[in-house]
């Protein structure tokens, strides 16, 4: 599938796996909630990945669109630019019912999400030590 088949994304052009500074800035007077959200997200992330994987395996475009959209929305809270972009691509594939490259993009997403998870854990651990 060529890139031309996708609409232009206005997602932030960032390759950061996780922008901790931007994330924390939004929780100015609610820092506890910021860290609570990290724990909560890390606990549900495997199920979100599983949903996408299942949709790709069963070639269910509607399910891929919804599950990728949900993950993209969740990731946006963390300013996770690179993973968000890949989730968006999967969402568009589901929307357009063209899933040829979905498996490849999903593999890239898994790698990015692994980086992202590690960054999140590190970020939360620094705070716990402090």
């Amino acid at each position: 599938m060529s890139k031309k088949e996708f609409p232009e994304s206005d997602l932030p052009l960032t390759h950061l796996a996780f922008d901790g500074e931007a994330y924390l800035a939004n929780f100015s007077d609610m820092e506890d909630l910021a860290y609570e959200a990290i724990d909560s997200f890390l606990s549900i992330l495997p199920s979100l990945i599983f949903e996408i994987e299942s949709a790709i395996q069963s070639q269910n475009a509607v399910s891929l669109e919804i599950s990728a959209h949900t993950l993209k929305g969740n990731l946006s809270n963390f300013y996770a630019g690179s993973s968000e972009l890949l989730a968006w691509q999967l969402e568009q594939m589901g929307h357009g019912k063209i899933m040829d490259s979905a498996h490849r993009i999903f593999q890239e997403l898994k790698i990015e999400l692994s980086r992202f998870s590690n960054d999140l854990k590190e970020f939360a651990a620094v705070r716990k030590i402090a």
Binding site: T70, G73, N74, N77, F78
Partner: protein
Amino acid sequence: MIDCMANKTILVVDDSEFDRSLLAKALLRKNNFNVIEANNGEQCFEILETKPVHLILMDIMMPGIYGTQVLLKIREKFNPMELPIIMVTSKADASDVVGSLQSGANDYITKPVNFEVMMSRISTHLKLAEISEEMSKLKEMAALGAMIRTYNHEINNPLAIAIGCLNSSLLKDERAVDRLKAALWRIADIVKKIQVVTEKKEVEFQECGNSNKMIKIK
């Protein structure tokens, strides 16, 4: 000054448990709102049937029934001033934003939700809803006052004539009986006209001195 944010209930509609819960917790911590959560359109409708809600934050894209469809159904029952709805959307969903606003959404916020912006938008729409409610009450009171003045003015005169005729020793006089009949028919006519006016959705007013208004019934 009206504290429009106090004791208000916000309904958060989002199929993503994580996003929904994050918004709910932020609303609670920022302003101690009463927060109710719904994970789809059906739950949203059920809640609106049973609980008072002052504002809705709703995700545009949800499985099953799309956010804009939920929005249209809510608007069949509640106008934008009665129940403000703020849509929550991804930055990439610009066309959905336009669709939502055309379908009756009051406003939108984009993900990642900036909590300060969210609070500011909520505050604005709660204030507008409160002002609109106050205006409606004032209009109702004005209409009620005008209605009472109309009854007083239109009925008192023929009533006084009728009573005068009844008290008159000349009641046996045919002219007095005619005047009495005319006065009573006038009262009956006025009552009928006022009934017609009250069945209308809008009423017209007319000045009746001292800056007072009466309902226009003729």
